[in-house]
Structure formats: C-alpha cells, structure tokens
Amino acid sequence: MIRRRDRWASVRRATWWLTLGVVFIPWWGAAHADAATNFDLEDRVREIASELRCVVCQNLSVADSPSDLAKEMRNLVRELVQQGKSREEIQAYFVSRYGEYVLLSPPKRGFNLLVWGLPFLAIAVGGGVVYLVVRRWTEQAPASRPAVDPTYAERVQRELKDREQV
C-alpha cells in the first residue's frame, strides 16, 4: 500500500511539473521572442538613423546626436519601421523633406560620382606618375655615369702597369 501511494505521489509530482512546464516554457519563450524583436527593431532604427545627418549638428548622425530634433527623428524612424517601411522608403522620405543633404554619404550617381571616383582616380594617376619617374631613374642610372677622358684612362692604365712591374 505504501509503495502504491508513493507511486501516486510521484505521478502527481510529475503532472505538476509537466503543467508548470507547459505553462511556463511558452510564456518564457514569448517574453524572450518579444525581447528579440525589440532588439531587432532598435538595431534597425540605429542602422537607418546612422545614415541620416543630424541637421542641427556638425557632422553627426541622427543615431549619435543627443539633440532634441535628432531624438524626434529617431522616434519617427522607429515609427516608420514599425509601419513596415523599408530603409529606402524612410531615406526617400527624409530626402524629400531635407534634400540629399540629410544623407551622410551622398548617393552614388550623377555629380556625386566625382566624390566617390576622384580619390581612386587620383591614386591611380599618382601611382602612374611614380611608376614613370622611378622607371626613368633606373634607366638613366648607367647612362648618367660621367664620361672619362680617354687620356686620363690611358694614364691610369699605364701607371697601374708600372706599379705592377716595380
């Protein structure tokens, strides 16, 4: 009898734990998943805000600026992300209000291509110039040896010979 009661107790205990698990695990999971989406949202907001210029600062992004307007802009970005707007749509909205100036890196098209291309062009041209100059130096090195007066050369040869004979 005692054994049987024991078994019942263990069954009850197991049921209790199972119930707890059935209730608790989904709850814990849901809470965790919520935290994850929140984290993703903040990440996304930061990513978009970091490419927007804080318009009242000097060279600070909306993500990094402590100013009130930047804070409001971050809130707006968060709201737009929650509405399901893409990064491009959000950027387009800010550009339509503030102009391209609001983007920290100018879009790669039209006149702006100069900004993206010129540094590389300058490095290529500079590299070419360095190559040409170095090549000229190395080519001229043998030719630049001063010509020796044949009379002196002859005299050196003669005196060397005399020395050997002594």
Partner: protein, 174 residues
C-alpha cells in the same frame, strides 16, 4: 616634346573648374526640396483650444512660421513683424499660422502673451510637422499660395521688405 609641356596645364583645367564651381556655391545655403511642392498637410490643436488644419485653409494664401520661445534673438526680433503683418493683411484674406517647436508649454504661452499674437498658434508634439517641413532651425517661414503650394521658404528672422514682397505676391496670385 611640346605636348608634354602642355600636359600639366591641361590636367589642371578640370581641377580648376571643379574648384571654381565649389567655391562659388554657398556651403551654408541648403535649398529646400519643398519649394514649388504642395505644402504637407497637418492638423494640430492650437494653444487657444481650436484646431488648425492646412487643408481647411485652401484657397487662402498662408504664412506658416516656425518659432520657439528659446529661439533668442531671431524669433523675438521677427515676432512683432508677424503680428503687424497679420493685422494688416488678414482683411485681404491672408492666413497666418505659427508652429511652436520643441518648447515647454508655459514658456510658449509666455511668448504668445508677450507679443500678443492674435493669429492661431499650435504646438508640434513629437516635432512631426517640423520634420515634415524639413525644418532644421527656428525661425523658418513658409509662404504658401492659394493652391497650397510652397512658393518660398525663408530661414532666419524675417525683414519687413521681404514679408511685404512675399505677401503682396501671394495675395495677387491665383
């Protein structure tokens, strides 16, 4: 080799042109993309309790001024001019709306009282309207025609001559 002598001056021509373009533009002048575009709609609660909606003002030219009580001295300089312009032209159909941005309510009300503003003024919670108008500092003033198009945007304190010219043009316009 004459072409080699020409190479250096020729190579510097594009650079000089680029610099000439760059130095002739004002780096501080940021043209608003909103000029010649429809003014963004807004509906906000006014300080005096009423509601201001831009759509409801269609058919009237509107002077839309962004200000703040902490914007000293520019907003304080232009405030009497705004009120005087409103008094002078409201009979002719001009509308004027003030938007107070990033302000404390008590300070804003003090500002309104100090200058005795009689045209509608609205606070802008969350700066939504300010961002929608691409405002980056106060004061900024938008001149909106009867069709609801932004005709002109002015950054900084207004001057009597500028207001006169813009308002007359708005009132004459269709």
């Amino acid at each position: 080799m004459t072409w080699k002598k020409l190479l250096i001056p020729l190579a510097s021509v594009p650079l000089i042109l680029l610099l000439a373009y760059g130095f002739r533009t004002d780096p501080k002048a940021i043209p608003s993309p909103l000029v010649q575009k429809p003014a963004p709609e807004f509906r906000l609660k006014a300080f005096d309790g009423g509601e201001v909606s831009l759509a409801e003002l269609k058919g009237k030219p509107v002077v839309l001024n962004f200000w703040a009580s902490w914007c000293y001295p520019a907003c304080y300089e232009e405030a009497p001019l705004l009120e005087a312009t409103w008094k002078r032209f409201k009979e002719q159909g001009l509308m004027m709306v003030g938007v107070d941005i990033q302000d404390k309510e008590a300070n804003a009300r003090e500002f309104l009282q100090r200058f005795g503003f009689t045209f509608p003024n609205v606070p802008d919670p969350g700066s939504k309207v300010s961002i929608d108008y691409g405002v980056y500092g106060v004061p900024e003033t938008f001149f909106i025609d009867r069709q609801g198009q932004i005709v002109y945007k002015h950054v900084g304190a207004l001057t009597p001559a500028l207001v006169e010219a813009q308002v007359q043009a708005l009132l004459k316009g269709k």
